[in-house]
């Protein structure tokens, strides 16, 4: 009995097991899921129910937590939570809705804090995207697909892990829909137009960009039929496409109506050419040595499409082409690019299928070993990584209990670039704009951090004429316009000196400390202003 790849791994489970049997493959999937989740949630150190948010490395993570937790309080997204708009009520909720509902339910059902529910859920979604695409491409390349699984581990490493730790949660939820669309378009599905219509609706309601990317895949199919002169196939697709689009229209009509009054008119996210202030290091080259099989898979796929008329490769080539949109100025595609280890995994599988068939029984065994090698040779976020210290989180929780009024932050350690990290307050954070500060005379140049778009729309879909200028522009405001003022240690001696001046002025006039710690002090200034 000679040594072979299957017994090499399969024998671990059961002597005499069939090559690449289902139990071994299930074990491989479970291993990949566990390792990926351990990598993505490395800051948790294997512990749940932590007393403060871990793995939060940018303000957007807190933004998603704040929406999800507000949803648990309010019960619905009929209205935008008032703390996103200086306490104003009756404004339309225009954010994509799916992620927040799932996160709120996950927190309800498992009992973990909402700030952990959002991170765990987005981790599960990321893993699901990778496994779904690999299972999808297995239809074409058989068991070679498993050789793509090791690459998916990269999503838990830098720079890709930013998709979770920097808070691209709604993008990830939309990309679950995009991956599902890319896979199902090739499959024989019962009630296909209805199912595809539902999947496209999921994309719209989870993350609108994902819907546009799904349409780009459809466009690639149309291009293929045109180039190949397969007019009959194209005409056959018109009726199901119309049914699918009708489903989308029915399921998402209300949301499109809200969007037509907010993002479509005034917003920035819908404009993919707007510069996006994150480092552009999530590109094909960020995959390192894995970029080689990806490119080989791309060449093989293009040859198959053009030479063999095989349209099954189109979604996977389209997923590659989407990642190149960065180079034509569509900077916001970077949210997609942070998931490249998942979206390009099918191309690795396609490249692997070029290995001679006589080695096929090695595929699962090699995948097992490669997954372990990649995991143990990768570096993940350190245990405890987060932008919010326990004591700062304690202050935020205490302040959120006291009142709904906006809080004036004279300075906070997270800095002006990540102000929305303070949305956990559930009170609108207002910040001093130090670049416009000249001298203190009882007023300060301030700007509010809001969650409203410039075209503020009420729930009756009428544009609001109310004054939300403070949300977008710096204005000189009296300190006494606020009831609560936060002073925090800041890495700038000049700013700290001015903070002391303001602090002394307010306390001498009768302001009372509410919370005090060596790194911050919070004053109730109503006594000083009456």
């Amino acid at each position: 009995m000679g040594f072979n790849g299957y017994r090499f791994i399969g024998g671990v489970f059961c002597k005499g097991m069939r090559p690449n049997s289902r139990i071994v493959i299930v074990a491989l999937y479970v291993l990949v899921a566990v390792l990926l989740l351990r990598g993505i949630l490395a800051p948790y150190g294997g512990e749940l129910d932590n007393p403060y948010p871990l793995g939060y490395l940018a303000g957007d993570t807190m933004w998603h937590y704040a929406y999800s937790d507000a949803l648990r309080d309010e019960g619905s997204t009929r209205e935008l939570p008032s703390f996103f708009a200086l306490g104003e009520e009756g404004l339309a909720f225009f954010q994509p809705v799916i992620f927040y509902h799932l996160a709120a339910s996950f927190a309800d059902l498992t009992g973990v804090p909402t700030y952990e529910a959002t991170m765990i859920l987005v981790g599960f979604m990321g893993v699901l995207i990778g496994l779904l695409l690999v299972a999808g491409v297995r239809r074409i390349v058989s068991d070679w697909a498993y050789l793509a699984l090791p690459m998916t581990i990269l999503v838990a490493t830098s720079p890709f892990v930013q998709v979770f730790s920097w808070g691209f949660h709604i993008a990830v939820s939309g990309f679950v829909g995009l991956a599902l669309f890319a896979v199902l378009i090739n499959e024989k599905v019962s009630f296909k137009p209805l199912v595809i219509g539902a999947v496209l609706s999921f994309c719209v309601l989870a993350f609108l960009d994902a819907f546009v990317y799904a349409l780009a895949i459809c466009l690639a199919f149309v291009g293929f039929f045109v180039v190949k002169g397969r007019w009959g196939d194209m005409l056959k697709g018109i009726k199901p496409s119309l049914i699918a689009l009708t489903v989308v229209f029915v399921m998402t009509g209300w949301y499109f109506l809200v969007m037509s009054k907010t993002w479509f008119v005034h917003g920035s996210r819908i404009n993919w050419f707007v510069p996006y202030d994150v480092p552009w290091d999530a590109e094909i080259v960020s995959l390192g040595v894995w970029a080689v099989p990806v490119l080989v898979g791309l060449v093989v796929s293009v040859v198959r499409i053009l030479k063999d008329d095989d349209s099954r490769y189109i979604p996977y080539v389209s997923l590659f082409l989407l990642s190149l949109s960065l180079y034509i100025g569509l900077e916001r595609i970077v949210r997609y690019n942070f998931l490249l280890p998942m979206f390009l995994a099918p191309l690795v599988a396609i490249a692997a299928a070029r290995i001679p068939k006589r080695f096929a029984h090695w595929s699962v065994g090699v995948a097992f070993v490669s997954v372990l090698v990649v995991f143990f040779s990768s570096s993940f976020l350190a245990v405890g990584s987060t932008m919010m210290s326990p004591v700062e989180w304690y202050a935020i929780e205490e302040l959120s209990e006291l009142s709904d009024d906006p809080v004036l932050f004279v300075a906070h350690r997270v800095g002006t670039g990540q102000n929305h990290a303070l949305f956990g307050l559930k009170r609108t954070p207002v910040f001093v704009e130090w670049s416009e500060f000249e001298s203190y005379d009882g007023t300060l140049p301030v700007k509010a951090m809001c969650g409203v778009r410039r075209g503020i729309v009420t729930t009756s879909l009428e544009e609001s004429t109310r004054d939300f200028d403070l949300c977008f522009n710096v204005q000189n405001r009296d300190v006494c316009d606020f009831s609560t003022v936060y002073f925090g240690a800041f890495p700038n001696e000049q700013i700290n000196a001015i903070q002391n001046e303001i602090l002394n002025d307010l306390t001498s006039r009768g302001a009372q400390p509410i919370l005090q710690h060596e790194s911050f002090i919070v004053l109730d200034v109503r006594g000083a202003c009456s």
Binding site: V34, A179, V199
Partner: protein
């Protein structure tokens, strides 16, 4: 091979070994999600491979639940009211899907 569906229950224990009680709850949820996802996948993807039925079914149910929760919130004022129909829907999917698989 249906006994393999017990495996997802243990995944959270391997990810969060320090919190077994909450991991058990997450495991129960994950196990239910997997088995219902597979049942749904079997229902609509009759000719696909078992793993595609599983993962596609899970993805569809996940996002579909999001829409049901959203609609429940909009229509009734509380998304939690959707838990009851979702359990019923899940049971129906399990019944019909597993019969077909």
């Amino acid at each position: 091979m249906r006994w393999l569906f017990v495996l997802p229950f243990f995944v959270p224990f391997a990810v969060f070994p320090g919190s077994p009680l909450i991991a058990a709850k997450i495991g129960a949820l994950l196990g239910l999600w997997c088995v219902t996802g597979y049942a749904f996948g079997s229902f609509v993807l009759r000719e696909s491979s078992w793993d595609l039925k599983l993962f596609a079914g899970m993805a569809f149910l996940l996002l579909g639940s999001g829409i049901v929760l959203w609609l429940s919130g909009i229509l009734t004022g509380d998304y939690r009211y959707a838990y009851i129909p979702l359990v019923g829907l899940g049971a129906a999917i399990l019944w019909f899907g597993l019969k077909r698989s």
